[in-house]
Assembly symmetry: C2
Homo-oligomer: 523 residues x 2
């Protein structure tokens, strides 16, 4: 058994190494690659992707998994070996169901589609990319049908990023959330909008980058195993547990961009850096799902980084770095500026309250398209109608409407968006549980800029486990409750109730919720 288990691990390690190299090809392409390298780089990335897939779907891996089935059953469910075998088996069974020929075809198609989209979007020309999107929808339905027996045709897509959740679960959660969000957004946006002009001044890039990184390190981002570079779109990537990198982008005329994208990516990086070192090179060595991953970026970016307590400690530092720009701006004004809520067109620029409405719109349209209830030719019109219904404003064009996100034009339709909102919900849920265990957390942050209690709780209860537990499992284990929108709603009501002086809302709501989380009783 030992030998077979070792052989399996060796093979998985090989796949991991090839994939890590492919990851570096992408990081380099986004950071330092000269433009002349683009054509060959696309080919090299495809070659390594194909190789990793070939190696992973090698029937020998299937045979090893079969041979190890009895061994796996003999192991404690919580043991690392059992976790490794469980996750490897699940991923292997998924991977072999999709024919390599289909994957290659889709890769070709989506790279053409992406090319056309990069031109169609600035030209506001949905018609141009429509035939590609129709083909993409066909492929997306086909892809789902490699997994017969689903309840909903979107399920196989959702399971690939948020294993353990189905379309029905997500829809139910989203419907609950929607009921709370719509009146909250109305209440907020009927008030005087926050003045965020203090963020729209000239802030030299170097200082922005240095400040963001200082906070990231204070959060606990280990620079011995990390670094930050600039890219067009910020992301986090990992080449090993000893090399977890983030990227950011700066706008010199807007303070919010680099800073909060750094804190967001740092959240992702803390998760990956916190994984148990023994998992290095195995399928366990990554965050367990898109939603749980996003919960960490949102927790550190929003629940921590946009909180009043955080800035109580850090605002004087920020003021001393940008004394000319912020010297005479009060902490309250700054706090309202970074938490400005508004009905806006673009998802990626949206605040933490309205953001979810953007996601739900996309999620619902994805389901309708996959079900066959929404034709691509009707998509722009349906988008506009839904957007107007949800946001009270009509997108003036497709460019900032249905053409705005890269996802559908550079990948399949389905499963790409729900993780963002699941992350918002879960971020609050994890934070509430950390607080319940350590009520001193907000005070430590406020008084000392100290994050280690929060960070350690997250490492202990979430990060270290990597993918050993599925999202539903780890949520239950770490928080004593299945996914629940209650903490998130309490958090939003409390925070925005105070900021916008809403009736019946205030800071106590969130504290009370956390004190009595998850069962309504104080500890």
């Amino acid at each position: 058994m030992e030998t077979k288990f070792q052989e399996l691990k060796n093979r998985l390690l090989e796949v991991n190494d090839i994939s890590s190299a492919a990851g570096l090809l992408y990081w380099d392409q986004s950071t330092y690659m000269p433009p002349g390298g683009a054509a060959a780089r696309a080919r090299q990335t495809a070659t390594l992707g194909r190789l990793a897939h070939e190696k992973f779907t090698d029937p020998t891996i299937g045979k090893l998994l079969d041979a190890l089935e009895a061994y796996e059953k003999s192991l404690d469910y919580d043991s690392d070996a059992a976790g490794l075998l469980r996750v490897a088996r699940r991923k292997y069974e998924r991977a072999i169901k999709i024919p390599a020929k289909f994957t290659a075809e889709v890769a070709n198609h989506t790279s053409e589609s992406y090319q056309v989209w990069t031109e169609a979007r600035p030209a506001n020309d949905f018609e141009r990319v429509r035939p590609y999107l129709e083909k993409t929808l066909e492929y997306s339905r086909q892809a789902a049908n490699f997994f017969p027996g689903y309840d909903h045709i979107a399920d196989p897509h959702i399971e690939s990023s948020d294993y353990g959740m189905k379309a029905e679960d997500v829809s139910r959660v989203f419907a609950e959330l929607r009921q709370e969000l719509v009146p909250l957004v109305s209440a907020i946006t009927s008030q005087e909008p926050a003045d965020d002009s203090c963020l729209h001044q000239h802030f030299p890039e170097e200082k922005q980058l240095a400040f963001g990184l200082e906070v990231a390190e204070q959060f606990g981002y280990d620079m011995h195993r990390g670094r930050q570079d600039k890219t067009h779109h910020p992301f986090m990537t990992k080449f090993s547990l000893g090399d977890v990198r983030i990227t950011t982008r700066t706008k010199e005329n807007f303070l919010g961009d680099a800073l909060f994208s750094t804190l967001h990516e740092t959240g992702h990086a803390l998760y990956e850096q916190g994984i148990c070192p023994d998992y290095e090179g195995t399928p366990l060595a990554r965050g367990t799902s898109s939603g749980v991953h996003e919960s960490q970026s949102r927790l550190w970016e929003n629940l921590v980084g946009r909180s009043r307590g955080f800035w109580y400690h850090f605002y004087p530092k920020l003021q001393s770095v940008f004394s000319e720009q912020l010297g005479s701006v009060s902490k309250d004004t700054f706090n309202r500026a970074i938490n400005k809520v508004e009905r806006s067109l673009i998802r990626t620029n949206a605040d933490e309250v309205t953001y979810n409405l953007h996601v739900m719109l996309r999620f619902d349209l994805e389901l309708a398209m996959l079900e066959g209830n929404l034709e691509i030719r009707d998509l722009p019109e349906v988008w506009r109608e839904r957007f107007e219904a949800d946001f009270g404003i009509a997108p003036p064009d497709d460019k900032d409407g249905v053409l705005q996100d890269v996802h559908w034009y550079f990948g399949l339709i389905g499963g790409a968006f729900q993780g963002y909102t699941l992350g918002n919900i879960l971020g609050a849920q994890f934070y509430a549980s950390a607080f319940k265990a350590h009520p001193e957390i907000p005070t430590e942050i406020r008084r000392e800029g100290k994050f280690s209690t929060l960070h350690n709780w997250l490492k202990e209860n979430l990060y270290q486990h990597g993918s050993k537990y599925t999202a539903p499992e780890i949520i239950e284990r770490a928080t004593g409750s299945p996914l629940s929108i209650k903490p998130y709603i309490a958090y939003l009501h409390s925070k925005y109730g105070e900021l916008y002086d809403l009736d019946g809302c205030g800071p106590a709501q969130w504290t009370e919720m956390m004190e009595t989380w998850p069962d309504g009783s104080a500890s």
Copy 2:
């Protein structure tokens, strides 16, 4: 035939892509990788190296080459297809002779040996690394014996980097060169040494880097397909013909380091960037040998970059960048400083005259070790004796003696050094031929800082061909002569004769040589 040829090319392309990714792993490790990534990176590099080797030595490639043998014979020798088949066959036949198990064993051994050397060198402790070096010598002899039928046991090593040359050829050329160099070095070093104190001032890093890169671009280094970063040891690396990068290092208290290493690596990069784009991804898409490659780094670094004419144009620019440091330093003083000749201990810091004596010493010791005529335990003593004989100074310790170069401690013994001196010789030979075709080259450089005539001649006659021709073939084709030390000797006599006021030497010698090169008659 077409199908088989295409299949072969596809397989070679796959190998190329894996190797390019491995190259990026190394570049990243040397430039930006956080220290925590080291362990996994070593493993990832080994995995990709093994995969590339496995894919290249796949018997299917052998069968395809066999099937294409008649086709290859039917092709014109100068055709690209014939070149590709010829080079692929040669490399394949070499690769399959070395068992994968042996390669893996050597890789393990050399990485241990390297580790020990990094500690033994600063501790000046040859004894510590001696057993490793003994094992390395054993491996080196074994490696050669996978290629029975050699004339000299060093031949297989030399052929791997300088295909077409054997130990006997190199020894003969080196003996000729030595006869000329020894009296030249004596003559120079009996003069007052040049004063290079003007280079040993404070030169801010940013300005050094910017100036070096400006010259590199003026040489013709295409930044759309290139970039420069900082590393501990400068190098050139290529991920595709559209992505050829250089690295450099700076010392703020010495002007010579970054500038000339940039020009050196630029020479390598110009060669790779100049390869025919049709060769992308094939075994033809790289410089043909170590010696020919080094000829280009040395040509641009020394024959151009350390010439009086070059600085006639560029010195005023350099003075304006470093006006405080160089404003009152005359062009002549600067010119003598950057061409200072001295008997010194360290190869990598040596000037272009004495450098070759360092190389010859190592080359001769390599032959003796491989032949079994020199035991590792006697190596430090023999090194000291030979060094004293050649340089007139005794190395005070092994640290700056036999322990100074990484080569023997991180690779096999044999074939690693001769390319440097072959490069010095060939740099002058190529330059002479370019001059013969375009006598306006030195004037263009001097008057306008214009390099395009020289660069175009090199592209046309050397760079574009990549590996299509072997070193002896391309030397003959491009210069109308086999490798010859005559141009190099004339160049050295002429340049250093003028600088050091030596009897019977002066600038006319080099010009005359070039005007009548290669057959002694003017054109």
